[in-house]
């Protein structure tokens, strides 16, 4: 994947439900609209929860990939 310049890099590794979505909700307010957050996580629940969070809050999930236990995802702020 072509590396996107992230406005914010977020380390969510080792955190369990519901903290990854809570941190995303707090972090999204700190980047400008169209800003990019790149995050890493290890909780497998993130695979379902981050897409659901993006759909519900209207943000864009740019990409999400999993390599062994490490999940990396990129979210763009829409509003």
């Amino acid at each position: 994947m072509e590396a996107v310049k992230a406005d914010l890099t977020l380390d969510l590794t080792g955190l369990l439900c519901p903290i990854p979505v809570v941190k995303m909700a707090q972090a999204i307010k700190t980047v400008p609209v169209a800003g990019i957050i790149e995050a890493t996580a290890t909780d497998p629940g993130v695979m379902a929860d981050i897409p659901a969070w993006c759909r519900t809050t209207g943000q864009t999930l740019v990409s999400m990939e999993r390599q062994d236990k490490l999940i990396t995802f990129v979210v763009q702020r829409v509003k």
Partner: protein, 171 residues
């Protein structure tokens, strides 16, 4: 490397503005309170407006570690009532060993503790309400409750809020 193709639909999600969650927290069990606060903080993170109405045993979740009670029965009850650090799980508590075990296991796995979840809820603007009647019956004073409690209300206030909510839960 497993790359997930993210469909364009993901971008067109409906905003959660205007959706509300109302929750009755009746239980004072550690496990049920963990569930209640995880749902509340998750909902707040999803942009929902969240109200938690604490009644009966649930009041322990918002009680300070004080000895409450005015009369004989109230004072006796006050000795049994816990605060958020003292509540035990609904099963396998075994006189507090279960509470200790679950706390250990949660810490080992990096899960947020119950007090941390409650603080997160407050930080995210979750409204904490206490049931007036339960406070009266159990002889718990307003000042026996933590600062984060916004209101002390009755059933009508809860129902007004619940009737305007998209999700209602009883825990």
């Amino acid at each position: 490397m497993a790359v997930l193709a993210v469909p364009a639909l993901e971008t067109a999600g409906q905003p959660a503005t205007g959706t509300k969650l109302s929750m009755v927290v009746f239980s004072g069990d550690m496990d049920k309170l963990i569930a209640a606060f995880i749902i509340a903080t998750g909902a707040a993170a999803m942009g929902m407006e969240v109200t938690m109405f604490f009644t009966f045993w649930g009041l322990q979740a918002i009680r300070k570690p004080v000895r409450s009670g005015t009369g004989v029965f109230g004072k006796m009850l006050g000795l049994f009532l816990k605060d958020i650090n003292g509540v035990g799980p609904s099963k396998l508590n075994m006189g507090g060993m279960g509470r200790w075990m679950f706390k250990k296991m949660m810490t080992a796995k990096g899960a947020a503790s119950l007090p941390e979840l409650r603080q997160t809820a407050i930080d995210l603007g979750v409204r904490l309400q206490a049931c007036q009647m339960s406070l009266d019956i159990m002889e718990i004073k307003r000042e026996d409750l933590i600062e984060g409690v916004e209101d002390v209300v009755g059933v009508a206030a809860f129902l007004e809020n619940a009737s305007q909510s998209t999700t209602t839960l009883f825990i």
